[in-house]
């Protein structure tokens, strides 16, 4: 049975159940290499800098979106702050042709996949439900009903396998969502059909106000192993470790191995959403503990230690981030208002006579106010 040994350095006050095993770590908090790391990774300056760049951009986008919400321009925002390493490290481990099924907080992933700020914010401004073309980015729209996307990803992967296409499907799932029956069904179904899917679990230790200890009595990767998945447990605030671990699992899956499960231990640094008040359920001590483990800081220290972060590059990156923030804001404010006619049009592929009649009546009614 699971021993609840808590690794203080990594876990802090939220106390994730861990069966005697520490997550794989490549970089220690001070940015130096962890000699205990088992993961293979060829870290070039290019790789480290490009990961850092995407994390910085994601952080800046997240911040700008947060402000837009506070200013009433977005209805809601779910921050990915603190999870940039988990998201960027994993998304970058895939090939462009691989397909992603996100949950709803994977903004850094979306950025990696080239989703434009307008496409990303439209949903949170209330202009649409899914803002981008999944086929273009090989990234499905967000799924807000927890865990449902893991079954879609599994089915998609069954298709990939049937097509012998050599692609890998990666789906993101939160620690809380793992409690949903759908997620267990997906893990099992993937294992039984041996489909090329990787479940990437961002264990950010919270589901709104609920600790991960309420969701599970064992480490989540242990549960996945019970279903027969190829698992790895990784420090989710260490982008290099995440990148290496996800690459390892994804390539094993691509080569025909059993489906994979990556548990990345990270932390939701902001509230669950802009509607949330995390002070009701967690201490500032805990938040500060994790602030000190900020994934950006860690990689930055590594870059600095290696002399890979020259001021020119950093200031260029700063400029790029500010430009992105400006773009985000501009794109948000320029979003067109949604029309109910468009929802009518998207309800069925072949509009029924009944729906056409109803749509016409709606339009006529709307027009009667003109």
């Amino acid at each position: 049975m699971s021993a609840h040994v808590v690794h203080d350095v990594l876990h802090g006050p939220a106390q994730v159940p861990v069966a005697g095993q520490a997550p794989q770590q490549y970089l220690r908090m001070d940015g130096t290499l962890n000699p205990a790391c088992d993961l293979e990774l060829a870290v070039t300056p290019q790789l480290a800098r490009s990961l850092y760049r995407e994390m910085v951009l994601a952080r800046r986008l997240d911040q700008e979106a947060y402000h837009l919400q506070r200013q009433g321009e977005l209805g809601l925002w779910l921050s990915c702050r603190g999870q940039e390493a988990a998201q960027v490290g994993s998304a970058r481990a895939l090939r462009e042709s691989d397909w992603i099924f996100p949950a709803y907080r994977e903004h850094a992933v979306a950025l990696v996949r080239g989703v434009a700020p307008a496409e990303l914010l439209a949903q949170w401004r209330g202009c649409c439900h899914g803002g981008w073309d999944p086929a273009r980015h090989r990234m499905h729209i967000y799924s807000l009903v927890l865990g449902t996307q893991t079954l879609h990803a599994t089915g998609y992967a069954m298709g990939v396998r049937a097509d012998a296409a050599g692609e890998v499907v990666l789906t993101y799932v939160g620690d809380g969502a793992t409690s949903q029956g759908d997620v267990s069904e997906a893990l099992n179904w993937a294992a039984v059909t041996r489909s090329p899917v990787v479940f990437f679990c961002q264990n950010n230790q919270w589901a709104i106000s609920t600790r991960v200890g309420t969701q599970t009595a064992t480490p989540l990767h242990q549960r996945a192993a019970g279903f027969g998945l190829d698992t790895v447990y990784v420090d989710g605030n260490d982008v290099l470790a995440v990148h290496a671990a996800t690459t390892m699992i994804a390539e094993r899956v691509r080569a025909g191995g059993v489906p994979g499960f990556v548990e990345a231990l990270t932390y939701r640094m902001a509230g669950h959403s802009t509607s949330d008040d995390p002070t009701r359920y967690r201490s500032s001590e805990e938040t500060e503990y994790w602030e000190r483990r900020d994934p950006l800081t860690r990689l930055r220290r590594f870059l600095d230690n290696n002399g890979w972060s020259d001021p020119a590059w950093l200031s260029e990156l700063d400029g790029e981030a500010e430009q992105l923030a400006a773009d985000v804001r501009a794109a948000c404010l320029a979003l067109p208002e949604p029309r109910l006619e468009d929802v009518f049009a998207a309800t069925l592929v072949r509009e029924s006579a009944a729906l056409a009649t109803e749509r016409a009546a709606f339009t006529a009614y709307q027009d009667s106010f003109l």
């Binding site: 649409c128 899914g130 069954m158 099992n188 179904w189 592929v349």
Partner: protein, 336 residues
């Protein structure tokens, strides 16, 4: 000669076998069609609707699934996103509920949620209704849940010929379709023209006047169509002329056909197996009344299951609408 060619053969088929032939045709016509569900492989499904298809098309296209309805529908959505055209079998009506979330929040809404970018042509086949003396959860008529769900098409076949055509149209339809198969009519047999349906097929949207009449319009679907037809035969002997409409499409409703008939007869009775409260029968009554208020001679009558859980098998005869109850309602609307 290949099936579906001009001179398609006519065969005497049970409704179940007509479905089987229809699925086979759909698989021949479109290699993206795959079947999935519990026990649909070697067994051919508990009603044998997929019999022989595993042998003919192989495991890649006929997938005997683990026992999890939410996963059946959820992975079917994923397969559809990949370009497949999955046909899911739910073993019995009462076992569709574990998949309710995937059907209602995902399958039905995927297109709208994606702003019209995504298409999920999934067909969900459900043997429906009572009358076969089954144990609990095996006799449910739950079409109301899906009719109330925007984004789905809901259809029910009532005859072997329709079964054969409609299943192919459902599979070919780019919208998700809940496809009801009237369980106790699986063994009804009739002539079926075997082959692909005409390309301009409209059955999925169109009701069928199964019998013309002038005194009362009787609206039925799935298993109750035969009940209504039988009632019409008896009524004729009593000098009453019933027009029987087989809905075929439960959502959307072919309202022009319904109101056209009701306007002609001035009286309508809806016959369903489902409990009447907040049911498709309620909708039909409300819709017809909305449009025909001034020409109706009587309120639309509803004959259906009572608003209680489906009874044990040996009491189901008391529960299910039969000829007597239909005629009783006909008399009521005529007497009004």
């Amino acid at each position: 000669m290949t099936p579906g060619s001009a001179a398609a053969p006519t065969r005497q088929l049970s409704l179940g076998k007509a479905l089987n032939a229809g699925l086979r045709q759909a698989m021949l016509d479109d290699p993206s069609v795959v079947l999935m569900g519990e026990d649909i492989g070697a067994l051919g499904g508990v009603f044998r609707v997929t019999e022989g298809l595993l042998d003919e098309f192989g495991e890649q296209r006929v997938f005997n699934s683990p026992l999890a309805e939410s996963a059946i529908v959820g992975t079917a959505i994923g397969l559809a996103l990949r370009g497949y055209r999955p046909v899911c079998e739910i073993q019995f009506d009462g076992f569709v509920y574990p998949a309710f979330d995937q059907i209602v929040s995902q399958l039905a809404k995927m297109r709208a949620r994606s702003g019209g970018r995504l298409t999920v042509p999934v067909t969900i086949r459900i043997p429906v209704g009572g009358g076969i003396g089954a144990v609990e959860h095996h006799s449910e008529s739950n079409e109301a849940y899906f009719c109330h769900t925007a984004g789905l098409r809901v259809v029910a076949c009532a005859s072997p010929a329709d079964a054969h055509t409609m299943i192919q149209e459902a599979v070919a339809c780019d919208d998700p379709v809940i496809f009801y198969e009237p369980k106790r009519r699986y063994w009804d047999t009739a002539d079926v023209v075997v082959g692909s349906p005409p390309a301009d097929g409209l059955a999925l949207d169109q009701a069928r006047i199964a019998r013309h009449g002038s005194d009362v319009t009787v609206i039925a679907w799935g298993p109750t169509v035969r009940t209504a037809l039988d009632a019409a035969t008896v009524a004729e002997q009593e000098g009453k002329s019933l027009e029987v409409i087989d809905l075929r499409s439960l959502s959307p409703l072919d309202l022009p056909t319904l109101t056209g008939s009701a306007a002609r007869t001035g009286r309508a009775v809806v016959v369903q197996e489902a409990p009447t409260f907040t049911s498709l029968g309620s909708e039909i009554a409300a819709s017809i009344t909305e449009q025909c208020f001034d020409v109706l001679e009587a309120p639309v009558a509803r004959v259906g299951g009572y608003n209680i859980p489906y009874p044990p098998a040996r009491a189901e005869e008391q529960y299910l609408p039969d000829i007597d109850r239909v005629l009783d309602a006909v008399d009521r609307v005529l007497a009004h």
